[in-house]
Assembly symmetry: C2
Homo-oligomer: 346 residues x 2
DNA sequence: CTGAAAGCGCTTACAG
DNA sequence: CTGAAAGCGCTTACAG
């Protein structure tokens, strides 16, 4: 490999000067700068990032932590329906990270991974920061990260500390909007097939719905609420069970779009038509929404704002050592009305 | 951070000894080993991987390259239906990589990425090797990698060199099996909605089908062959077009399971029943196959063997500098008969 | 504006 | 079996 030493020799300067040119230091005579640049091109030099990481005590790498998990596998779960939205979000994260020339790392995680262990492994890799996507509420990694000095941003789970903050959609407002949409269509008996109530999005969406109901002078009927899990299949099963137990509702709010897909299938199998017999709503606004039958009324999460915002926050923490505790970013959501919802037919 | 120097001091030995204990050198007295271990535990020491990488001239990191792409984004496309199978495969790759304590890296790639540029960026990162998944036939990265000294294995695209090899399913045989299955059910007019003919899996599957037909004394009718692209939607559109032009076929071979899903939808919209009116087959055997209606007859790709095999090959190249040119791994495929295929009804 | 020297945290011949 | 010294390829005070 070409080293800075060789560049220095060819350019007839010291390695110090080469380094300075590379790092855009001022106080370099144009002539030196010129000579060094020529040598760099001639030799096809590119600095060794490992050496840079060592001396700077920090690499240009951002660790990615995904989902609740025991075994430490990050990509394993990505194909699951419950993570469909995150796949899309990940794209924007990667885009932002890549545009500032950081790499994304999936650290291998040992089995016996205590919080300390996890932190230590990030530290020995000298990662500049970490982005944690969709962790569960009691994830051991959160513990360590919020008190460590490694900048980190959590998406869809809460983590706050001197060098940690989080990003999330305004789930409460989104759920409120969509529930109000149903109420305005005349629905009064509304079923809720939600993901889980212990994680952040699940909790908030439930809360938002309750809020909307309360405003309308209604309360949520516990018999119409099912915390099924976030997969398409979970929602499918839960909807079937719900239908077998009672079917006096005119609308069903699913916890996500992919869940709504499961719900739709269960309804069709029961010969119920959407939206004529029952209105159905999703959450997320993934691309598939346009392909369901009928196209899904849902709440759009602004993944661009979320992804870019998360990276932005992270970079500002990385660059500003002395930063004050960064405040969380709450991204607005927006109701998208398609054809899976309609007025109550007397 | 705790350094080996501190460990040495606490244990009352030299850093050399600490290093030797860590790297499992023999020729260490049990007593020394004991003392060092104690110090390590006491201090919670873990070696700095960046420093290790520098001195060893190699990091414990494997770069991941995914899909044909201009912009250098790896995760962006993962959600597309055409990559559904790869998501599953990726899981096994990660599992294998992680079990030997390597990290997976998605290097950020600059826009003007020439082959040399790509190689240089891997080199300055000191990656131990790279796994390239589903690249297109003329990918610029392949060029560089096959002549570079960075060990690399290509999955589903061909790349061979002194330090490069590839892994793929036996697509030819799989396509042959499934075509013969249809032939044995009495089908003679068989349509093919295939992904693309320029990439490796597409080419091989087409070839296998032709082979089976030829054996039966038949030839492929060009009017019944559509190279649509690999997405569900592509297959959906292609099937619609096909049906609008001619419908004198009794079976349809889709290029993948996800494509078969698109095909099924198009057939239903034309009021054709599967398998009574038309038999349909997929390829891959993804989990969704059991959820389609009817469950899909398909060819199973052994993703475990592919993933583990790829990592195995890579590690053997990494560990054995002087290795001879490694031979490619071709993983057997297996016909899985479900309910989307049936005999021709007179 | 420029360079010699020290140092980042490790490993590895080389001596003993 | 053990350690002092050199070195991996950079950057960064410190002098000048």
């Amino acid at each position: 490999m070409v080293t800075s030493k060789q560049v220095a020799r060819v350019a007839g300067v010291s390695r110090t000067t080469v380094s300075r040119v590379l790092n855009g230091s001022t106080r370099i005579s144009p002539e030196m700068r010129q000579r060094v640049h020529e040598a760099i091109v001639t030799l096809g030099y590119e600095p060794d990032v490992v050496a840079q990481s060592l001396v700077r005590q920090r690499s240009r790498v951002i660790a990615l932590g995904l989902f609740p998990q025991e075994v430490g596998l990050s990509l394993s779960e990505l194909g699951q329906t419950r993570h469909y939205f995150y796949l899309d979000l990940l794209k924007h994260i990667e885009q932002s990270v890549t545009s500032v020339y950081y790499d994304l790392l999936m650290p291998s995680r040992p089995q016996n991974s205590s919080p300390e262990h996890y932190i230590r492994s990030l530290r020995t890799r000298r990662v500049a920061g970490s982005i944690m996507l969709g962790l569960g509420p009691g994830d051991s990694r959160t513990q360590g990260l919020i008190q460590a000095d490694i900048p980190s941003v959590f998406i869809d789970s809460m983590g706050q500390g001197k060098r940690a903050t989080y990003v999330k959609s305004d789930n409460v407002d989104g759920a409120r909007q969509i529930t109000e949409h149903l109420l305005s269509l005349g629905h009064r008996r509304i079923a809720f097939v939600i993901g889980q109530t212990i994680d952040l999005p699940g909790m908030e969406r439930l809360f938002g719905a309750q809020h909307a109901l309360a405003r309308a002078g209604l309360t949520m009927d516990p018999a119409l609420v099912r915390a099924s899990g976030w997969d398409t299949d979970d929602a499918y099963e839960a909807t079937r069970t719900l239908l077998s137990e009672q079917r006096d509702f005119t609308a069903l709010v699913a916890g996500s779009d992919l869940m709504a897909i499961g719900t739709l299938r269960a309804l069709y199998e029961h010969d119920l038509r959407v939206p004529d017999d029952i209105s159905v709503t999703g959450f997320d606004d993934v691309d598939l929404c346009r392909y369901t039958y009928p196209p899904l009324t849902t709440v759009r999460q602004d993944r661009i704002a979320m992804g870019q915002g998360a990276v932005q926050l992270l970079l500002s923490m990385i660059d500003d050592e002395s930063a004050t505790e960064p405040s969380p970013l709450v991204v607005p959501t927006r109701l998208v009305v398609r054809h899976s919802t309609g007025p109550v037919l007397a």
